[in-house]
């Protein structure tokens, strides 16, 4: 199939896998590594940076990661099936622009929110049709719709901003559980994450997604309806991006066509950092959530520590590169050692 043979995988470490105890496998899994790194960053930042551990800071840290965390959930599933969706940030922008325009027409906000999420689903369905019905590569299709949806957002709202959303709605987007530091929006993310987690890791449908990612052809011969599943994943991705658009608009009390511009690569980076293979077939939702939180925490800590926020770019990039290079190099070193041991006389 297409391109998975491209970057030869490190020579199969599988042969010795059964020799490991389960806890050793668990400890060396990437999602465990990333959770530990996240915990370490939180501890170090709390101890060394003034104001990091405050209620207010935690609230804003969590609010900041909500859009990326939301979009990362369906994107994880899509990447596990071996596809990709780069149009998510443009979908968010278009949904935000439409939300602003509809608000100007005087519709009640409850109706608008439903319409906007439906619109997101529709935009996702367009991607899904191109990918699953016409058989076009998702990377190219969603680069196309990335431009198209962002363009349509400008067509809808131009360079204007709609900002007069009712106060109770914008305040609600910031509100926290019992006035603490956990925003309700984050609770929504966690509930959705549980739903996606159950679908991916517990249901047969979830297993099928992995099967597709490993070998779509084999999966379809085994009776998995690959096209239908992928289509609905794109619809879900669009709808969740629409929901993220609603949150973004309310949180900043501003509907603009350029909302979340270029956010797509940040989301993809978070998902890949979370240990999902770009070729599909591998990854877990826990790792992705930890990846999203890790990026958000590092950014927040750097800002508080007065390190220029641009240094974050270097950190993000290095983490991402390390997340793929380190396991590969370790794998190669292991197999080299094994070969040497075998070659040496007993």
């Amino acid at each position: 199939m297409a391109h998975d043979s491209l970057y030869a995988q490190p020579e199969a470490p599988a042969e010795r896998a059964e020799a490991h105890a389960w806890w050793r496998t668990a400890l060396t899994r990437w999602d465990t590594v990333i959770v530990v790194v996240l915990a370490a960053v939180v501890v170090v930042a709390s101890l060394s940076i003034d104001g990091f551990a405050s209620t207010g800071n935690a609230q804003f840290l969590l609010l900041d990661v909500v859009p990326i965390a939301l979009i990362a959930l369906p994107l994880t599933l899509i990447i596990i099936t071996g596809e990709i969706d780069l149009s998510v940030a443009s979908t968010l922008g278009l949904c935000s622009a439409v939300m602003g325009q509809l608000w100007l027409t005087g519709l009640p906000l409850e109706v608008i929110v439903v319409l906007v999420v439906l619109l997101g689903g529709l935009l996702g369905a367009v991607n899904g049709v191109f990918v699953t019905r016409f058989g076009l590569p998702a990377l190219a299709v969603t680069i196309g719709t990335l431009a198209a949806y962002r363009g349509l957002a400008y067509v809808v709202l131009g360079d204007r901003a709609v900002a007069d959303f009712p106060y109770d709605w914008t305040a609600a987007s910031l509100s926290t559980v019992a006035g603490g530091s956990l925003p309700w929006a984050m609770v929504m993310v966690l509930l959705l994450a549980c739903a996606f987690g159950v679908v991916l890791h517990v249901t047969p449908f979830g297993r099928k997604l992995y099967a597709m990612g490993n070998n779509a052809e084999a999966a379809s011969f085994a009776g998995v309806s690959v096209a239908t599943a992928k289509f609905w994943l794109f619809v879900t991705s669009g709808a969740v991006s629409g929901l993220a658009g609603v949150f973004w608009t309310l949180r900043f009390a501003s509907a603009r066509a350029d909302n979340a511009f270029a956010l797509e690569l940040a989301v993809v980076a978070a998902v890949l950092l979370g240990g999902v293979s770009i070729f599909g077939g591998r990854g877990a939702l826990l790792g992705v959530l930890a990846g999203v939180l890790l990026l958000g925490t590092v950014r927040n800590a750097l800002q508080l520590a007065d390190v220029s926020s641009e240094a974050l770019y270097v950190v993000t990039g290095s983490l991402l590169v390390a997340s793929v290079v380190v396991p590969n190099v370790v794998g190669m070193a292991r197999s080299w050692l094994r070969r040497r041991r075998r070659a040496a006389p007993a």
């Binding site: 076009l136 363009g151 400008y154 770019y313």
Partner: protein, 354 residues
């Protein structure tokens, strides 16, 4: 991310089917892909025609010069990107490399105002090639996906740019007049930048079409395992492709500095997807193995012309990006149709025992 197997193979096998045996089958296939490039050229011609009929001023020398000037940098980037994409890789870091090199060029002139222009451009290409070599080394030796590596390096190069600039902005006054005038001046009415871009296109086009290592890039893009088994040094070729792409991004960065004169650390942000879009519109298959730099260059020219045309036609400029998006979708749809026809034709021939 996975294309339907049989058709993709038919499509990707085409350029490698070229050497020696020019039987009817390959001739048909070649003709079809020439048609693909003629198709973009025709779309471009039609766009120019419609715009010119509406407002003849569009074909005036200054207007053409503006379009060529605007397209030159994107064309150079698209050429570099094509070299990487045909080998079934991708380089998302080009926008950041362009920004870093543009800033470095400005810094070079600040530090040594007397630097000869050619030397400054060569330094830019060199820095870009170093960035490309880092990408290439990571992809080829650590054997990890190019999409992930170059996405990471997109952030790293941009971050280095920001850390270096510390909010500083370099202005036209900081750079020698001769360098700046190269960015906008013309030769026989054609911008110097366009000549540079044309030279890049021709050299890269000849390399990919006629040189052994150029052909090997297509072979790698068509089927990396088969390429490896047939003795092609895959790692070295892929590494080379990334160095070339980085070098082109470096050249584009130096030219960007010359053309715009004002440089800060945000230069070239988001350019990477536009470059990939130009290549895709130009018929370069996103999973490698087929496409040409001529197509990619035409794609870049078409994307740039759309912007100008819409303005001339007094269409709301906000439509521009939507049109570009539609164009990308139309282009990949067309490629798919062509690939299907190729596959059918090849199937038909082989079943007749040809």
């Amino acid at each position: 991310m996975k294309t339907g197997a049989p058709v993709a193979e038919g499509q990707q096998a085409t350029p490698t089917a070229e050497p020696a045996k020019t039987n009817g089958r390959t001739r048909f296939v070649q003709r079809l892909w020439v048609v693909r490039e003629i198709g973009i050229a025709a779309a471009l011609g039609l766009l120019v025609l419609v715009t010119a009929i509406d407002s003849p001023g569009f074909l005036s020398a200054p207007s053409i010069r503006d379009v060529l000037l605007g397209a030159s940098i994107l064309v150079i980037l698209a050429v570099g990107q094509t070299v990487v994409i045909v080998s079934r890789n991708i380089d998302l870091s080009v926008g950041s490399v362009l920004g870093l090199v543009a800033f470095a060029t400005g810094k070079l002139f600040l530090a040594a105002p007397g630097t000869p222009i050619v030397l400054a451009i060569l330094a830019g290409i060199g820095l870009g090639a170093v960035c490309g070599a880092i990408n290439g080394a990571l992809v080829a030796t650590a054997r990890v996906p190019a999409l992930v590596i170059t996405l990471g390096m997109l952030y790293v190069y941009r971050g280095v740019d920001h850390l270096w600039a510390k909010g500083q902005q370099i202005n036209a006054a900081d750079m020698p007049a001769g360098f700046l005038s190269m960015g906008t001046s013309t030769l026989l009415g054609v911008p110097v930048l366009a000549f540079i871009a044309l030279a890049v296109v021709l050299v890269a086009g000849m390399y990919l079409h006629s040189y052994r290592s150029g052909r090997e890039l297509y072979a790698i893009g068509s089927e990396p395992n088969a390429a490896r088994l047939s003795g092609i040094p895959v790692g070295r070729r892929v590494f080379g492709a990334f160095v070339v792409c980085g070098g082109m991004a470096g050249l584009a960065g130096a030219l960007y500095a010359a053309r715009f004169g004002t440089i800060d650390a945000t230069v070239g942000t988001g350019l990477e997807l536009e470059v990939v879009a130009a290549a895709v519109v130009g018929g370069v298959a996103i999973f490698g193995g087929s496409g040409s730099v001529y197509g990619a260059a035409l794609g870049a020219l078409l994307l740039t012309t759309i912007g100008t045309s819409l303005a001339v036609l007094r269409i709301d400029p906000f439509w521009q990006q939507a049109v570009v998006g539609g164009l990308i979708l139309a282009a990949i749809g067309l490629d798919r149709l062509l690939a299907l026809r190729v596959a059918n034709r090849l199937k038909g021939r082989s079943s007749h025992g040809a």
